[in-house]
């Protein structure tokens, strides 16, 4: 644990010193002994304050308890503890100051005042903060300060190192349209299954083995072929599987997306916030798989059966992902397409209308039937100024071209139609 200390005169201390000099000057010049006495009485507290503030912080240990799982824009309560390890002497007027901030942005200071901590006592106090941006915040180090007893001298101890606190993306609200579409997709699949599926228990396909699956359902031949455990799927699953593909392409704005400055970066933040909200929504439902692929500075992929742990992991990834100056859509899709379940609903969130079929680099991706099937199921949600809602209406320029090229895909929608930050 690092430990630094600093002692300085406060503003009141400087003023007090000026008064002291005035009195002492009068005493020396006129040789007024009572003024000498008064000067001593004035100087005594100042000198003793230097000693008192040094001893006042001796034996005091400060610590904090950081909360977990806080999203940007939510209130954050940090509990501060001050332990007085001395056996006889209490601690008066101790302020514990904490700082919190993103590396790129300025830090915000929060202080907690402990009027009195008796000997051997542990006191707790809470301060509240409201981080407005997602990201990894540096918290601390803690500064324990006191000006006791007279407020003339301040002693500051910087104790402990910095902790980090992950602030998840801001959660928004999904619109009714999104809910309806999602419901429609789910119900439509079920109706289709009812119409076309075979009898219950009939073999439908294979899927990856999940924890909890019976060993008897393992399809050993396919497992041997694929090199991983797969199980028989007796029917088309009526799950709410979801794959969220997040495209964080923001030309000319590389770096920390959390430090949103321009429109592109704000757009990136909205996209991330939407992805986080959708992920949280999916994770609230049972019996579903979730895949998240992020194409930012780095390409990241998270998938699994929905659970709170998965949601935490997804939010962690979304909290730290950064916008990319390079177009990593192809990289992201290449990493994700084979991992997306056949029945999963696929949403591609982007700040543009990506040309999934028109782009030569992407064209090679759809070389197999399952991939082409997937391409048809991709629903594009874009946050762009040049394109407006509606299928095939009013497309302009590049977006228009992208829209035409994406005829082959599912639907293209504006982010604002599905999401309110």
């Amino acid at each position: 644990m690092s430990y630094q200390h600093k002692t300085k005169l406060t503003r009141e201390g400087w003023f007090y010193l000026v008064v002291l000099c005035f009195v002492l000057g009068g005493a020396v010049l006129r040789e007024i002994n009572l003024l000498f006495v008064l000067s001593g009485m004035l100087a005594g507290p100042l000198i003793l304050s230097l000693r008192s503030v040094a001893t006042a912080l001796r034996g005091l240990q400060a610590s904090r308890t950081l909360p977990q799982g806080v999203c940007a824009g939510e209130s954050l309560a940090v509990e501060m503890q001050l332990q007085n390890t001395r056996r006889r002497v209490g601690g008066f007027a101790v302020t514990v100051e904490d700082s919190m901030g993103l590396a790129a942005a300025g830090e915000e200071r929060h202080s907690v005042f402990f009027p009195y901590v008796a000997a051997g006592e542990l006191r707790k106090r809470v301060y509240h903060a409201r981080p407005e941006r997602r990201g990894r915040y540096a918290v601390g180090p803690l500064r324990i300060t006191t000006r006791f007893p007279f407020g003339l001298v301040q002693r500051e101890i910087v104790t402990g190192g910095s902790d980090s606190l992950l602030i998840y993306p801001r959660m928004g609200r999904l619109t009714r349209l999104w809910t309806a579409r999602r419901h429609e997709a789910f119900e439509g699949g079920r109706r289709q299954r009812q119409r076309y599926s075979r009898a219950e228990g009939e073999y439908y396909g294979v899927r990856e083995w999940r924890e909890g699956d019976s060993r008897r359902s393992i399809h050993w031949r396919s497992s041997a072929r694929l090199g991983r455990l797969v199980v028989r799927q007796p029917e088309q699953p009526h799950t709410r599987d979801m794959a969220i593909l997040v495209d964080l392409y923001a030309p000319g704005h590389a770096g920390n997306a959390g430090n949103a400055g321009g429109d592109d970066l704000q757009r990136v933040e909205r996209i991330i916030s939407f992805a986080a909200t959708v992920a949280a929504d999916v994770c609230r439902q049972a019996n579903a798989n979730l895949l998240l692929a992020v194409g930012g500075e780095e390409t990241r992929l998270v998938r699994g059966a929905v659970s709170s742990a998965l949601l935490q992991e997804v939010l962690r990834e979304l909290a730290v992902c950064e916008a990319s100056e390079k177009d990593r859509l192809q990289e992201m899709l290449a990493a994700a397409v084979d991992k997306i379940d056949a029945a999963a609903e696929v949403v591609l969130v982007s700040g543009r209308i990506p040309q999934l079929t028109g782009d030569a680099r992407l064209a090679g991706l759809w070389n197999t039937a399952p991939r082409r099937s997937l391409l048809r199921r991709i629903r594009i949600v874009c946050d762009t100024d040049g394109f407006f809602a509606g299928e095939g209406e009013g497309a302009e320029g590049e977006d228009e071209e992208g829209y035409r090229n994406n005829r082959a895909t599912g639907e293209v929608r504006l982010l604002s139609q599905y999401f309110q930050p």
């Binding site: 020396v28 007024i32 001593g40 209490g90 007027a93 005042f113 009195y116 006791f148």
Partner: protein
């Protein structure tokens, strides 16, 4: 009680206390009472109930009104008045602030105003009670500062703090501040001016030391304890204190002419004689012309004795105090006298006196009978040194030798009483007393002793400082002798002098101070106004001196001091605990005066620095003296013997103080050493940390070597040292022709590793580059080999 309420009470108390301190010197009771009442009311009405709270505008108006009022009072401009008016303004502003809603700003302003009042008060006050109240004020101020800080930090001010611990902290800090104050006060060097003794509007009044004294006048000051002067007696050869026992008589003026209750040093003006009309109506100018002839013929210093003639102007008689042409060599003691500012130029001393060096600030008047200072020194403290031979075996001699015979006629002058025939009753009483004893008329000494004894034995005449009703139809001294035999020293001295004269014995009255208040700590007589005294000097010609003195005293004879004043009637015994209390207060007052108020450069040197130096010197000498060590050993052995154990022997103030000083020095030394040790250890650990961090960084290259060689299938065995591993790798690399040239590189890297890991040295730039190159070569060649 919340911290803010306690703060409000403390600040109000401080305001009242500061005003009390300010008004102490003026003995003004109304203003402190008003402020104390207002302070109490402000706590109740403004702070507790909130009924009266001045907003900014009324408060500002009140402050401006107070300012204008004080400005008006400033004129006519006078420094003392100006300071007092500024002090009053501080009080008025304080009153306005007390009735405002208290915020941090208001608290600060109140504290500042009260402090300024105390600053002003120090200019006017000198007493020990002021010191006590200053200490009380200091504790209140510490409490207020602490509470203000807590309230300000806490914000709401409603927090309840543990009062016991707060008061304990204030107590400890207060004691610490007092110790620091004492140390700083004595250690701070003074510039060399005389210590400030208060802003006295008027210097001390000198009564009875002029050339005309009325009976009863002295009684006005004989109960005043105000200090007038200090007299030290030192050996002029070595400067050490000369032993003096008993009381000392410090003579100021001598009075020779008595008339109608008035003593004069000069003959009374005989205007009636000068202006007596001639039978033809013209003024008799002969007397005047005779006087002028006399003035022209007789040198000024000798004219004083011509009592029958016109007295010349006093300024003409003053002369510088010349060094004695033939100073005595034996029995000389130097008087170092410091006199406070007075309204007269007269100085006092033990007689006879002389100087060995000219002092231009001193003047002699009246033919050597009156000692004066220059007029510009009368309004301030003045120190002068005079040598004397008056001390015999530490006691002041009753005889003052004369260089020349005095004028007997003026010493036998009796009043020409218009009211009655002279002083018939006084003369008759003296005659009756002498007749009783049948002492021969030529035995002046015996008669004088008789008269003094009869006057001062307290049987008929009583000493009293109370004013007495006198029958002013007769001479006051006749009234004293006949009707009301109560009075103070002037009456007794006058009665004795006139009785002696009535018996044909030349005598005069001397006025000065008779002091028996010797300050053991300071080694000086502390002379106060209440020591003012009058006594009688009887002239004894050489032949009438006691036989033992005739050899020592010149043929001109001597003055013999006679003090007929009896002791004052003993008052009722004080309460058993009052006497020690009064004694303690006197001691405190003495200590306060001597070690606080009088602390100037000289005193600091005498009382602090010189004793300290002497103490250290003597300590060092003792430490070097084997005999002292033997004595200490004997003492220790003696005390270790249980038969010699005596509780009283185990305690010594000096030993205790030395022990405490040694303990304090040991504690400070220990703490200092511990601090230095911690400082050095922190630096050493910091350096070690930095070094190990560097080492951690630098041994990374060894791990990198391991990784590179591992790709080639060269893995270090557990039992292998890095050198053995490097040798083994070198052999393997040398075995293959394509890697033969790389064989030396592992050893190069491992040697660098040894240097860093075990030699605890950082690699220099060249070595680091060499290692980097070696690793690069191994890496490149290794990958290539693997691909193939």
């Amino acid at each position: 009680m919340s911290s803010e309420r306690l703060l409000q009470i403390t600040v109000a108390a401080m305001a009242a206390l500061a005003t009390v301190l300010l008004c102490m010197s003026q003995r003004f009771v109304v203003l402190p009472t008003v402020v104390a009442t207002a302070a109490f009311c402000s706590v109740w009405l403004t702070d507790v109930k909130g009924w009266v709270r001045l907003s900014r505008i009324p408060a500002g108006l009140a402050a401006v009104t107070a300012l204008l009022y004080c400005l008006h009072q400033l004129f006519p401009l006078n420094p003392v008045t100006a300071i007092l008016e500024i002090a009053n303004l501080l009080i008025y502003l304080q009153l306005v602030l007390l009735f405002q809603k208290k915020e941090t700003r208001i608290y600060r302003q109140l504290l500042m105003l009260s402090l300024l009042q105390v600053v002003v008060a120090t200019v006017f006050n000198q007493g020990i009670w002021f010191g006590f109240l200053m200490v009380v004020y200091m504790f209140a101020a510490l409490l207020a500062l602490m509470l203000l800080h807590l309230v300000r930090e806490e914000g709401s001010g409603q927090a309840v703090f543990p009062g016991r611990e707060i008061f304990a902290r204030v107590g400890m800090l207060g004691v610490g501040t007092l110790i620091f104050t004492a140390a700083a006060f004595f250690a701070l060097p003074r510039l060399g001016q005389p210590a400030w003794r208060g802003q006295n509007v008027e210097p001390r009044r000198a009564v009875g030391y002029t050339n005309e004294v009325a009976l009863g006048e002295l009684g006005l000051i004989v109960e005043d304890p105000q200090e007038v002067m200090r007299v030290q007696f030192v050996d002029p050869n070595d400067g050490h204190r000369a032993p003096v026992l008993g009381e000392v008589y410090l003579q100021g003026a001598v009075l020779t002419y008595y008339e109608k209750g008035n003593w004069r040093s000069e003959p009374p003006p005989r205007r009636e004689r000068r202006s007596r009309p001639m039978p033809d109506g013209r003024e008799d100018r002969r007397e005047i012309s005779r006087q002028w002839e006399f003035d022209a013929r007789v040198p000024p210093e000798r004219r004083r004795y011509s009592g029958r003639r016109r007295w010349p102007r006093r300024e003409d008689l003053e002369k510088e105090l010349e060094p004695s042409a033939d100073p005595p060599q034996k029995g000389v003691v130097r008087q170092a006298i410091t006199i406070e500012p007075m309204d007269r130029r007269e100085l006092f001393s033990m007689r006879p006196f002389f100087v060995t060096q000219t002092n231009p600030d001193l003047r002699l008047s009246d033919g050597g009978e009156r000692l004066l200072r220059l007029a510009e020194y009368s309004g301030r403290r003045f120190t002068y040194h005079l040598d004397t031979t008056a001390l015999e075996n530490g006691r002041q001699s009753a005889y003052v030798p004369l260089a020349e015979e005095p004028d007997m006629e003026e010493l036998l002058q009796m009043p020409e009483n218009d009211l009655s025939n002279g002083l018939p009753n006084l003369t008759a009483l003296a005659a009756a007393w002498t007749a009783e004893t049948k002492l021969p008329p030529e035995n002046w000494l015996a008669r004088a002793m008789l008269l003094r004894q009869r006057l001062g034995n307290g049987e008929r005449f009583q000493y009293s400082l109370e004013g007495q009703k006198r029958d002013w139809k007769i001479d006051p001294i006749e009234d004293f002798v006949v009707n009301n035999p109560r009075g103070h020293c002037e009456y007794f001295a006058t009665a004795l002098a006139l009785m002696l004269r009535s018996q044909g014995i030349p005598a005069r009255v001397a006025v000065g101070y008779m002091c028996d208040e010797f300050n053991d700590l300071g080694g000086f007589y502390q002379v106060r106004q209440l020591h003012a005294h009058t006594w009688v000097e009887m002239y004894l010609p050489h032949e009438k001196l006691p036989p033992g003195l005739q050899e020592e005293i010149t043929s001109a004879g001597a003055w013999m001091r006679l003090d007929p004043t009896p002791a004052a009637a003993s008052a009722a015994p004080p309460h058993p605990w009052i006497a020690p209390l009064a004694g303690s207060l006197d001691w405190l007052q003495f200590a306060w005066d001597n070690y606080v108020m009088e602390m100037d450069r000289t005193r600091q040197k005498q009382a602090i620095y010189q004793p300290l130096v002497n103490w250290v010197k003597s300590g060092v000498e003792k430490l070097k003296d084997p005999e002292w060590w033997r004595a200490v050993g004997r003492r220790v052995l003696f005390m270790l013997n249980p038969r010699n154990w005596n509780v009283s022997q185990w305690f010594s103030w000096r030993g205790g103080l030395v022990g405490m000083a040694i303990c304090a020095a040991a504690v400070f030394s220990f703490r200092g050493c511990r601090y230095c040790y911690r400082l050095l250890r922190a630096r050493w650990e910091d350096r070690r940390r930095r070094r190990s961090r560097a080492a951690r960084v630098e041994v990374a290259f060894y791990r990198r070597l391991g990784a590179i060689l591992a790709k080639r299938g060269l893995v270090k065995g557990e039992s292998q040292t890095p050198r053995e591993f490097a040798r083994m790798a070198a052999e393997r690399l040398a075995a293959a022709p394509e890697t033969r040239e790389l064989a030396v590189l592992p050893e190069t890297v491992v040697e660098a590793f040894y240097l860093v890991r075990f030699g605890r040295e950082a690699l220099d730039e060249d070595r680091r580059e060499e290692v980097e190159t070696a690793l690069g070569r191994l890496e490149g060649r290794g990958q290539g080999t693997g691909d193939r």
